[in-house]
Symmetry: C2
Subunit: 183 residues, 2 copies
DNA sequence: TTGCTTTTTCGACAGTGTGTCAATAAAATA
DNA sequence: TATTTTATTGACACACTGTCGAAAAAGCAA
């Protein structure tokens, strides 16, 4: 859309302020259910109606924030995957470090359905790509990608929310230990 | 509390109607964020203020519903664990069948923080008990209980919400495949 | 820089939801 | 049945939502 028409700088500024307001509120309150349009507009020092000019509702705004974060996240981990890195551990740690850096915002966003789905698909696609590269044969003895992706998502969500005392390296170790040798 | 004082039958009746209203609303709408005190009271054919006489807010009511479900769930799986069942697979399937039976209500309750924590602890305790029975030695090579519990929770949440086309047996197979042999 | 145009910003409104009261009504039980 | 206990109720003040038309301000061309 911005390809066909230059966006008004005022709109850009307002959107940025609204997004910043969300980040500001989230990192200090840490509960998505308490987020209201009223509070966001107040924090952004904009009229509440201005919000509705740019976004349909709170979910719409969150959806766009999520989209941007995922673009960023995908860009960061894709090179690592493409580079047929033979060091899985390192790739995993890099990925986890990214999550850890933004853990406060991620912890909140994980309560957002769309965000969780995006993360699930990212994990699933990543696993599938790696399997293709390694030409894994699908037999009855191979664990399905859904199962691996959902278990990984579970671990990440727990870590981000309740296990931040553990380092990315420890989590990566545990994950490969579990997936390589079983329990 | 009901040990020291018999509860007024009127209160019991009201609470039951409010809980039924929640179940009724949840199973047809399937979104916890749209649940309001107003709707619950209306569905229960009670005045809204009656709700506040019994519960602090919606979360309080959900917390109590969750508590009751977990009492029920724990009672059902505990005998299986105590009976030093040598058939892990069977135990797991029984547990998953319970979740599947109430999948609609569980899918909604998983959006409730307290519920997720309860489930996590249930899984964690179960794993710890089993490890004690088997006298597992904790070395660097053993995956931590947190990691296993959170990955299990992830799989269960995915299954209940987006993978209900798969049978309990299949999920149980996949879980033991993953945890026994790795990926 | 000016003056016209586009677009944003704003205050206000109706509608829905929350949480609490004092007054009322109705069950429980002695 | 009478009395006490307790639940139920409508009404109140307040917060949040989503949408106007009018006003203000920024953008942009000459």
């Amino acid at each position: 859309m911005s390809i066909y028409k230059k966006e008004d700088p005022r709109a850009i500024r307002s959107k940025k302020m609204l997004k910043n307001a969300v980040f500001s509120l989230i990192t200090e309150k840490l509960d998505i259910s308490q987020l209201t349009v009223q509070k966001i507009a107040e924090r952004a020092e904009l009229n509440r109606a201005t919000f509705y000019l740019h976004y349909e509702d709170i979910n719409d705004l969150l959806r766009q924030i999520v989209h941007e974060i995922f673009d960023d996240l995908s860009m960061k981990i894709d090179p690592l995957l493409q580079g047929k890195s033979n060091n899985e551990q390192e790739t995993l740690v890099t990925f986890l470090n990214y999550l850890y850096e933004y853990r406060k915002i991620f912890a909140v966003l994980f309560e957002h359905k769309g965000f969780k789905n995006n993360m699930f698909n990212l994990l699933k696609n990543t696993i599938e790509k790696r399997r293709n590269v390694r030409k894994i044969q699908y037999t009855r003895e191979v664990v399905s990608v859904d199962i691996i992706a959902s278990s990984l998502l579970g671990i990440i969500m727990w870590w981000i929310k309740d296990g931040t005392q553990f380092s990315s390296e420890y989590i990566a170790d545990q994950i490969s230990l579990m997936y390589k040798k079983g329990i």
